[in-house]
């Protein structure tokens, strides 16, 4: 399993997304995954080997590094990207379940009718796989839930990063007095400015993704409300039409 494999999975599910969802996928893979892989990983590559403490006490550097970096930024971001991508698979699972149900129904109806040839059946099944389901009904709820989960995960991981590292800035010097360090020891982090720049960049990209998700959720809700109102109006109009028809018939008969 690797990033390209995840991309292939998500692209398949993306067929049933809105335009905002497609933009979100592009931002995710180009500005977050790619930047993480081609740039950020090399910045954090030497984080422990170049974490230098002003002491000769064996074990002090290890202990201080562990105190200030309980989880590396890179690992946190990888986890965040994996968690944030998985709700889309909910939609893919629902679509697969719908296709399976419809395929079963198709097989049953063709079995009863008995006149559809094998080739005709295969074409219908292929058309089923290639179709694009409208975002309505149960798919709407699945999609909305996946958006909510995405927002939760994004927010959760950003908050976790902020809390664990006390902000998005990386200091040059940290002071450590964990055992076995004698007294208070100065420890110097490698490339703090570059790390701060990339942390801010990834936090910004994460915020942009959150804004896109919120906009997509608002769009879905607005679409559902408009559909409900239009449906109500149509029902009222058809009720009025049938009412007027029965009135006319009663007038004619009298």
């Amino acid at each position: 399993m690797s990033w390209p494999a995840l991309y292939t999975q998500l692209v398949g599910a993306n067929r049933h997304s809105t335009s905002l969802g497609k933009i979100w996928l592009s931002v995710l893979f180009i500005f977050r995954v790619m930047v993480l892989v081609v740039a950020a990983e090399s910045v954090w590559g030497d984080e422990q080997s170049d974490f230098v403490c002003n002491t000769l006490q064996p074990g002090c550097e290890n202990v201080c590094y562990d105190q200030f970096f309980p989880v590396s930024h890179i690992r946190l971001w990888c986890l965040q990207l994996v968690f944030v991508s998985t709700p889309t698979l909910l939609v893919a699972m629902y679509v697969a379940y719908r296709n399976h149900k419809d395929k079963k129904r198709l097989m049953q109806s063709s079995g009863r009718a008995g006149f559809l040839s094998n080739k005709g059946q295969e074409e219908e099944v292929e058309a089923l796989k290639k179709r694009r389901l409208p975002i309505a009904g149960a798919l709407w709820w699945t999609y909305a839930c996946s958006l909510l989960f995405r927002l939760l995960f994004e927010g959760g991981f950003m908050y976790a990063l902020y809390v664990v590292y006390d902000g998005f800035q990386m200091p040059r010097l940290v002071q450590c007095d964990q055992w076995p360090c004698p007294n208070l020891v100065d420890c110097f982090i490698s490339r703090p400015t570059e790390k701060t720049i990339f942390t801010v960049f990834m936090a910004t990209a994460s915020s942009i993704c959150m804004v896109l998700n919120m906009a997509e959720l608002a769009y879905l809700v607005a679409k559902a409300v408009t559909r409900a109102l239009c449906g109500q109006r149509e029902r009222r109009a058809s009720r009025d039409r049938t009412q007027s028809k029965t009135n006319q018939r009663s007038l004619v008969s009298t």
């Binding site: 690797s2 335009s19 592009s26 893979f29 790619m34 081609v38 090399s42 010097l173 490339r191 570059e194």
Partner: protein, 272 residues
Amino acid sequence: MNWAFLEGLLSGVNKYSTAFGRIWLAIVFIFRLLVFLVACEKVWGDEQKDFDCNTRQPGCHNVCYDHYFPISYTRLWALQLIFVTCPSLLVTLHVSYRKDRERKHRLKHGEDCAPLYDDTGKKRGGLWWTYFFSLLFKMTVDAVFVFLLFYIYEATFFPPLVKCSQDPCPNVVDCYIARPTEKKLFTIFMVVTSFVCIFLTFCEVLYLCGKRFAECCRGGSQPMRGNSFMMTRTPLTEKPKVAYNGPALEKSKMVDSGNGEASAPAYSIAVS
């Protein structure tokens, strides 16, 4: 996920570009991305390890390196290459949106109705503006990154010796940069190719505006001769696609058999 993924996405953009755009893409792939991958990353590979300071003070080396290299050149160029290639994807996105609209229109009104667009890939109307803004964005990104390079490093590219007096270094400490001449050469090369790309994009903007102006004067009734030229592919632009075949590109090629050869199957699936 690596540069092959980006190349896979961009190889489909050629279909909708002008001749200048294709030359630009070839220059970006061959002279910037390829050189960056095979040379720059190796030259800068040992940058912190071989940044030697004449001191035994722990932490002084880290602090001096951070002071003189707030962000590594290779990271700056990686970001520049990612940002400069993305606007082209906007154009692909717009074309996919048009194709989707056309498909929905045909579904609604039947196969024999009048199409919404004569050719979804032709730069008319909204697509012209998307292409135009993508060119402006590319020029701006390149210019901003070149400016950042000069501003951050104060145009003193790789003196062999730098003097550092940051805390905790005692007094003034001499620090030596690894491979300064080689780094200087590659920096000059990357800056020059950035300027060439800015110039090409500027020419493309003038060409696009001139063509539009000429069409407006003529009344826009006759189709341009240049259209058939736009749809052909040059050998230069095919080379990068053949040389690099990332797993994502190959996998998606299996899935998308309907589109033309020149499209980036992975991206068109993503947006369709």
